[in-house]
């Protein structure tokens, strides 16, 4: 049974569709991440579930209970806010106890549950501290303990890691994930950080301009993005603009004739041959699936000459920007294996970029304004 269900939920402010026709069912114990750029409506969606923003239309159910028109305090959601929103005048233990006291549990039970929750987040010794006496990471864990001690029907995480420094962030996201799994909490998390989203989610919902672009696992989104926005937002992607000549053959604006295995995203109007010619398309190529300097062979049907324009040594990979003979640029990620055969390419050097037909994915060349900012 799904614990969080949204049915055609929409939010309009005047003429602006903040969230449009949003439907999603999150299963018991599942962690779903809402991923999208700022202003895409993901936070509004979370706030509608929590009860802070009334829906314009649609229905919301939590744990099988219709909550669409219930006020926030009757929804039984556990929220972790971006800035934690701890009660500054209460100790860590009193913060955790707050929700239990609101439920009028006997003192003994409250004490016991608070102790267990603080232990769960490894803060058993710091229950007497005020929030300002705790580090950012510790405050974050108090906020988490406070949200999960009430055994919520839905755990809602609003950019929970964005106030932590990078190293702590990776630790805490593993911790949250383990805790969420161990307790079987049905969870919706909102983030704009794709690494965080990919690392934590069972499933992801990519949002843009108030609408769901695609729902799926990490692999589904990465391998089969439904549109150009998803391909660009999840992982890194090169886009070559152009059009289809015939099924399996793509002609870029720069004049390159490239082969691909005929795969098109479902929303790109089914089989490529069926769509009217002249429709603007983009060929998506993941940078780590392109190879540099490999001799021509049958497996690598596409091979284009270019010059190395820019190189970044990123540790596990080396990123090259290669200016193709057609004038277009491709980003190529070469694995930094340290093997004897590896070759570093110098700036200005001539190099061939090659890839097999199955790497390319043809998408409709819709233009998303968000992409300009990234």
């Amino acid at each position: 049974m799904a614990r969080i269900e949204l049915e055609s939920v929409s939010k309009r402010y005047g003429d602006v569709h903040a969230v449009h026709d949003f439907s999603l069912a999150i299963d018991e114990g599942e962690l779903v991440v809402l991923l999208g750029p700022s202003g895409c409506g993901k936070t509004t969606t979370l706030r509608m579930i929590a009860g802070f923003v009334p829906v314009t239309s649609g229905r919301i159910r939590l744990g099988g209970r219709e909550v669409t028109n219930l006020p926030a305090h009757r929804r039984n959601t556990g929220l972790v806010f971006q800035g934690y929103a701890l009660f500054p005048h209460l100790t860590a233990a009193e913060n955790v106890a707050f929700g239990l006291e609101m439920r009028k549990l006997p003192d003994g039970v409250v004490r016991e549950k608070v102790a267990r929750a603080l232990e769960l987040v490894r803060l058993a010794d710091l229950g007497d501290r005020l929030p300002r006496q705790l580090s950012g990471g510790q405050q974050q864990r108090v906020a988490l303990a406070r949200a999960l001690v009430i055994e919520p029907d839905a755990l809602l995480l609003d950019e929970p890691l964005s106030n932590l420094d990078a190293k702590l962030r990776e630790e805490v996201r593993v911790e949250i994930r383990q805790l969420q799994r161990a307790l079987g909490l049905t969870t919706l998390m909102v983030t704009h950080d794709q690494d965080e989203a990919l690392a934590m989610a069972d499933r992801l919902v990519v949002m843009s301009a108030g609408a769901i672009q695609q729902i799926g696992t990490q692999r589904e989104l990465y391998e089969h993005p439904r549109n150009r926005f998803v391909a660009g937002f999840v992982g890194r992607t090169n886009f070559l603009r152009g059009q289809l000549i015939e099924p399996g053959v793509f002609r870029s604006d720069g004049g390159l004739t490239l082969r691909y295995d005929g795969r098109s995203a479902p929303s790109s109007a089914g089989a490529p041959g069926a769509s009217p010619s002249g429709v603007r398309r983009a060929l998506a190529l993941r940078p780590e699936r392109l190879a540099l300097g490999v001799p021509a062979d049958a497996a690598r049907a596409n091979r284009v000459a270019g010059t190395v324009e820019f190189a970044s040594y990123l540790g596990s990979i080396i990123e090259y920007y290669v200016r193709l003979s057609s004038g277009e640029t491709l980003r190529v990620h070469a694995p930094n294996t340290g093997a004897a055969g590896d070759r570093a390419w110098a700036l200005g050097e001539t190099v061939h970029v090659s890839w097999p037909v199955e790497v390319g994915l043809v998408l409709e060349d819709e233009h998303h304004p968000e992409e300009d900012h990234r």
Binding site: A72, P88, G99, M102
Partner: protein, 276 residues
């Protein structure tokens, strides 16, 4: 260097406040002899006179009562307004703040005259009530304690609102949402979260309003009339009307001591209750 910066203010406080207060206290220990005015002495008879005369005690009690009622009214009316102002994102916010402060732009006498027009036996309120048919004869509104309370509350409300608003603005709205998500009803959010966090403002606002009420002068005279006495006018009367400086000085110190000690006690009580 920093020490030099506090110099002028320190000088002003010492010369303008502490020295006159010391002189005043010395006067309060002098003796008043009709015909000879103030005679040097070292006696507490002025204080004894105050605390043994039921008339003066009644004035003190009335002053305390009026100040306390005004303080509570200001708090009860001011908090919702301050909260709404602090949380609004309306572009009219600064205009509303101006409206709140507006009474302070009008002098005491002018404002009291306005209330007289309102409260008089043929004033606006009585006329309206008569027209509606709620009363047959005009009510006695002027020269009552109620009129004084309304008048003082109206002047002091802006101080309360502004003090509270700045404190409420410092409370992260997400904290209220956190409380709601944990199951707190709006009233519980107020009692358990907003009120404790706003306590410094409540304290500052109530003490400020209480002090202003205790020392009110023009409003009690103009709206209370000749038979309604509060401490402020009483002190002035002793100095200016009766030329009894020693007793006037003693009254001043009683008023000051009552105001200070009550403010201090309430401060302590509230701080103990909301320790953090």
């Amino acid at each position: 260097m920093a020490g030099a910066l506090v110099g002028p203010a320190t000088l002003a406080v010492v010369l303008g406040l502490l020295v006159p207060l010391a002189i005043l206290f010395r006067y309060s220990l002098n003796r008043f002899v009709p015909g000879r005015l103030m005679v040097d002495a070292l006696t507490v008879e002025n204080y004894v006179k105050f605390f043994t005369d039921p008339y003066y005690m009644a004035v003190l009690v009335r002053t305390l009562r009026v100040s306390a009622v005004c303080m509570v009214l200001c708090l009860v009316m001011g908090f919702p307004l301050a909260y709404a102002l602090a949380r609004t994102r309306s572009r009219w916010k600064s205009a509303v703040v101006m409206l709140v402060v507006l009474p302070l732009f009008v002098g005491n006498a002018v404002r009291a005259a306005g209330w007289m027009v309102m409260f008089g036996s043929r004033g606006l309120l009585n006329t309206l009530l008569g027209v509606v048919g709620l009363i047959d004869h005009p009510l006695q509104l002027m020269y009552t304690e109620a009129a004084v309370i309304v008048g003082i509350t109206a002047v002091n409300l802006p101080f309360m609102v502004l003090t509270l608003e700045s404190v409420v603005e410092g409370i992260d709205p997400a904290i209220e949402e956190a409380a709601a998500s944990l199951g707190a009803r709006p009233l519980q959010v107020f009692r358990r979260v907003i009120l404790p966090l706003a306590m410094p403002g409540v304290l500052a606002g109530t003490i400020l309003v209480f002090i202003l009420g205790m020392n009110a002068y023009a409003t009690p005279i103009l709206l209370g009339g000749p038979r309604f006495q509060m401490m402020g006018p009483l002190v002035y009367g002793q100095f200016a009307g009766l030329n009894n400086w020693p007793f006037g000085a003693a009254l001043s110190f009683v008023l000051m001591a009552a105001t200070l000690s009550l403010s201090a006690v309430s401060n302590l009580l509230i701080q103990r209750r909301y320790r953090r």
